[in-house]
Amino acid sequence: MIDYFLFDLDGTLTTEELLPRIARAIGVEKEIAELTELTIAGDIPFEYSLRHRVDILNRVPVSTIQDIVADVELDLHILSFLQQRSDRSLIVTGNIDVWIAKLVMKIGVPVISSKAHVIDDRISDLYEVLDKGLVLNQFSGKVCAVGDGHNDLGMIAGAAVGVAYGGIHSPARTLLEVSTHAIYDSEVLCRFLSQL
């Protein structure tokens, strides 16, 4: 029934949000934490938040951030599910291509993300902030989308099966108004998706 599976990255495939992890590693946790919380809930625009967070995290080299991100823990049930269907699975993330590059290589599943140019190991231009809702236009078959934050709203609302996922924190309340399902355990999530 389902032709493509679209998964959020932060807090869905990863067992913690990436930007707070980076912030903790470089000592700007407090500044990032509040922004992240407001962003997940949809209380501030995602693009505004991302650009602001880039300004803060750009104090350290991109290569350093790549290493921090590459070590993040992944949910093994979800990773296995995606890798077994890598020809019809896609990770859709508002995170930035240059920050997640090493992690993406480890995962081995195609990724669509926000994009930035880098000069001298620092982001010089965040030239594309991904609108997840528009990603659905690239698919002609039936799509299942899974995510936890407000920026997943468009993707989940437009999918045939839209799952609000609460693996590491409750999904944004806005997602519950448009999703077809809400699931809070990765093993249960993957068992359910395997049936579709």
């Binding site: 809070y184 249960v188 049936q195």
Partner: protein, 228 residues
């Protein structure tokens, strides 16, 4: 021994006839939310799905306080649709048999387990006990339900339809294709009658009077949940 089974609890509705401020799943009966009695009786079921609509966040929060491994399915159209829509949505992806339990029905745990273990299309019936029963008319000899009716029929044994059923997903899909997917579960079942009946001991909480009767009945049987 456990069996591969999917159970769908439909508690998306508003429960208007009961006249309380909460969705029926969260109405306290004998000291606990109604759905708590259901969750306890189904704690052995691996694939449990709860269909939510009205006050969905409250229901989700409560269920998660009991167990996390539940699939919540939304019936966002709960104002315009009935239990058939909720059941159909809850059964998404299932192949084979699926059990439907209305969110306002409390079944004695051993009866519910025995019913599920039948592992065949089957309908739960009980002695008439509510203010406004829908009768399951049965063939006396075969003990199959042959029709549903608001009136009892003296020529046939009439039991009350409980709302508890076990169906093949193919039967649900066939009914949906006939345009019967958004009303009541019994309407979903009708094209597939006759279906065997199984008598259960249970109480439905639909009206204020039902609530009083159910609480009296539950107070007699509540020890069974501890022993189950």
């Amino acid at each position: 021994m456990s069996i591969p089974v999917t159970v769908v609890i439909s508690c998306a509705g508003m429960g208007r006839r009961l006249g309380l401020s909460k969705t029926k799943a969260l109405v306290h009966i004998c000291g606990r939310p109604l759905i708590a009695w259901q969750l306890d009786a189904l704690k052995w079921v691996r694939d449990l799905r709860v269909v939510v609509g009205y006050q969905s966040q409250d229901v989700i929060d409560y269920v998660l306080s009991v167990r996390k491994d539940v699939i919540f399915t939304f019936n966002h159209d709960y104002r315009e649709t009935g239990t058939a829509a909720s059941f159909s949505k809850g059964a998404l992806g299932v192949s084979g048999l699926v059990v439907s339990l209305d969110g306002d029905l409390i079944v004695r745990p051993s009866h519910l387990k025995a019913f599920i273990y039948k592992q065949m299309p089957i309908l739960g019936v009980l002695e008439p006990s509510t203010d406004d029963p829908l009768y399951a008319l049965m063939d006396n000899k075969s003990q199959m339900v042959t029709a549903f009716d608001r009136e009892s029929n003296k020529s046939k044994q009439a039991m009350e339809w409980s709302g508890l059923c076990q169906l093949n997903v193919s039967q649900i899909v066939a009914s949906q294709q006939m345009g019967l997917g958004s009303g009541h579960v019994y309407q979903l079942i009708e094209p597939h009658l006759p279906i065997p009946a199984c008598q259960i001991d249970a109480r439905e909480v639909d009206t204020s009077a039902d609530f009083s009767r159910a609480e009296e009945w539950l107070s007699k049987h509540m020890h069974e949940w501890d022993e189950f």
